[in-house]
Symmetry: C2
Subunit: 430 residues, 2 copies
Amino acid sequence: MRMVDLIEKKRAGEVLSEKEIDFIIKGYVEGKIPDYQVSAWLMAIFFQGMNNNEAAYLTKSMLNSGDVIDLTMIDGVKVDKHSTGGVGDKTTLVLGPLVASLGAKLAKLSGRGLGHTGGTLDKMESIPGMRFALTEEEFINQVNRINIAVAGQTKKLVPADKLLYALRDVTGTVPSIPLIASSIMSKKLASGADVICLDVKIGDGAFMKTIEDARELSKIMVSIGKAFDKKVTAFITSMEEPLGFAVGNRLEVKEVIETLNGKGPIDLENLCVSIAGYMVFYAEKADSLDAAIKMARENLHNGKALAKFYEFIAAQGGAIDSLDDFVKTEQVLPYKAKKSGYIKTIKALNIGLASMKLGGGRETKEDEIDPMVGIVLAKKVGDNVTQGDVLANIYANNSVNEDIITLLDEAYQIIDEPVGKTDIIKEIIS
Amino acid sequence: MRMVDLIEKKRAGEVLSEKEIDFIIKGYVEGKIPDYQVSAWLMAIFFQGMNNNEAAYLTKSMLNSGDVIDLTMIDGVKVDKHSTGGVGDKTTLVLGPLVASLGAKLAKLSGRGLGHTGGTLDKMESIPGMRFALTEEEFINQVNRINIAVAGQTKKLVPADKLLYALRDVTGTVPSIPLIASSIMSKKLASGADVICLDVKIGDGAFMKTIEDARELSKIMVSIGKAFDKKVTAFITSMEEPLGFAVGNRLEVKEVIETLNGKGPIDLENLCVSIAGYMVFYAEKADSLDAAIKMARENLHNGKALAKFYEFIAAQGGAIDSLDDFVKTEQVLPYKAKKSGYIKTIKALNIGLASMKLGGGRETKEDEIDPMVGIVLAKKVGDNVTQGDVLANIYANNSVNEDIITLLDEAYQIIDEPVGKTDIIKEIIS
């Protein structure tokens, strides 16, 4: 087999076999196939795509390039969740304790964020004392004991994905749906869960810009999951405006606690309840999906999910003594409406970038995050506002420069006609 | 400027500027832009193409990556010719002495062949004594003295093309028409001629398979030539069957001599006369194109072109004492018709591969060529044959193995209905 022939085959729009795809991934990981051939192949995939079988074979080869976490020592059904990343997306932090409080097992490996969307690990690390460098034994014991544990990703998972992603990043081959699907699914499958819920964000602040792309990505990921005998459900959800009100690590953790206490933003609560319903039902902790969703809603309002949250952070060394001290910045600057009317848009990307520029996110891998800073919306899309009303509060430890204000100015569109609220979940594909 | 942005721009089908293309080529030649980004960019060009301006900018950047031959010391109009390569293509060897005999100046840098089509240099090197390592002074003096000189390509011409071609070869990005056009034109322009005739072959034995592709390639090359103020004419010619009768280095030289003596195959004579006509007319050695073509035909039949050939090879140290000794092989094996009828096809590719397998061509750069061996057709497409007639003679120095016979068997299609002869020149684009 010669790599150049396989490049030409894909370039011509033909379908590659399991053996051929494995030859490429193995050869690349072993250093036998050079970067320049793989990048040409990736660009051919960008243009010619991959069918569901090819994407599953690619996922399998990537998965086999490294370790696969063995969760068989955990009793019961293991659930996991992945989000394609959004601004103010603290879903996992709500969902984890919520499903754990209902008996599902969440054994989650989580990553850090880069750019305008934060990573779950960054958000949880903002809680003093939390540690994520768990041994495999600690990790498994904790899930068996309290149903939930979150650890940082080890370096041995899916090395092929790390290599391929680094190459895609510099060769203009990131936005290929089968490549995105294989990258996500190889990591999820390597993490060992039985039930996987995927939150595919669409809109301005998300990687997928259109419902069509999100649907294609969702379908191919669900199909890959089926090829591995996993229960995979994809939720296509809106990321036009930030999720909930808070953007910024500790500000988001505070909103998570409010949500687990039944007092969170309705969009965030609805999303978490729906995903939790699927997880709990597939984990066989409810007789029907409807019953599972009802149980999830209840546990957000009866204190059980919140109690599980505190149990979880305590198990990993974390503690929040006072919420007031937890989110204290040097200044809180109100950002006010320049005109009266109905909020038509709050561009999630702009809010995410503004929070990053305040110090709340990383522009490069080396940047340190200020966990306190961020932006908390006071109003959401559809709200009626009067000129001078506070639209958002800026939590800052340094002076707020003009760039940040410009990002906010350009984030908001206020119009005269009423604007309807839309559902957070657009489609569910399983 | 970042390479990844330029890859994405081309991937999206946008047009790159002169500055952007120059950034890429300079950066690549200087080792600042890595192979893996360039190969992704080349694959994006394969899918999205390049417009005429981009192709001209690419040609210019490649041209500027190395030396450009200065032919200003040669008096008069310098002509040059390029063929995309075909089986039995000895056009340059006829054309050179022919146009030189009519006063045009041919200062030609020529390359070696690889695969089933031989290079002009390989064919001329089969003449004992010929040397091609001329100094620049020798080269220019010879053209001034006898109107013709052929030298091997120096290593400093268009290094960007050498790098890009080597990368394209292993990344499935060879068959991109703007890349082919820029590669050919950068080398031709670096060679310094004023008038350039391009022989774009189509058909089974050629790189271009369809008239549409050949037309697109021709138009873009003519357009690039215009951007550099050169007179460029492209001839789209048939390579369904081999050109002339002879395939194999010395066998072809022998046919060249016959053609220069007015006794060559009619397809080869017609092609050479037509291209020579354009060269001589643009070199201002005739009042009209028709007059130039007439003069070219005459010089093939009055001995002047042949005399120029012997003058030319003598000037570079070559001599052919006896044509009989020149093409002597251990055996000459007739290949006979298996049925009676009209020859519908003689696949040029098969004849070329058969000759290569006899030892007449290189499979890899290191292979040594046996200049004696090859195949001489006895019949051409359209001829009426009877079972047992000799279709071709195989000139061999080793035993002729089954692979070679199979290639010949599959080359010929003989049918019951009469088959018309077609013109060698399909279109002329200027």
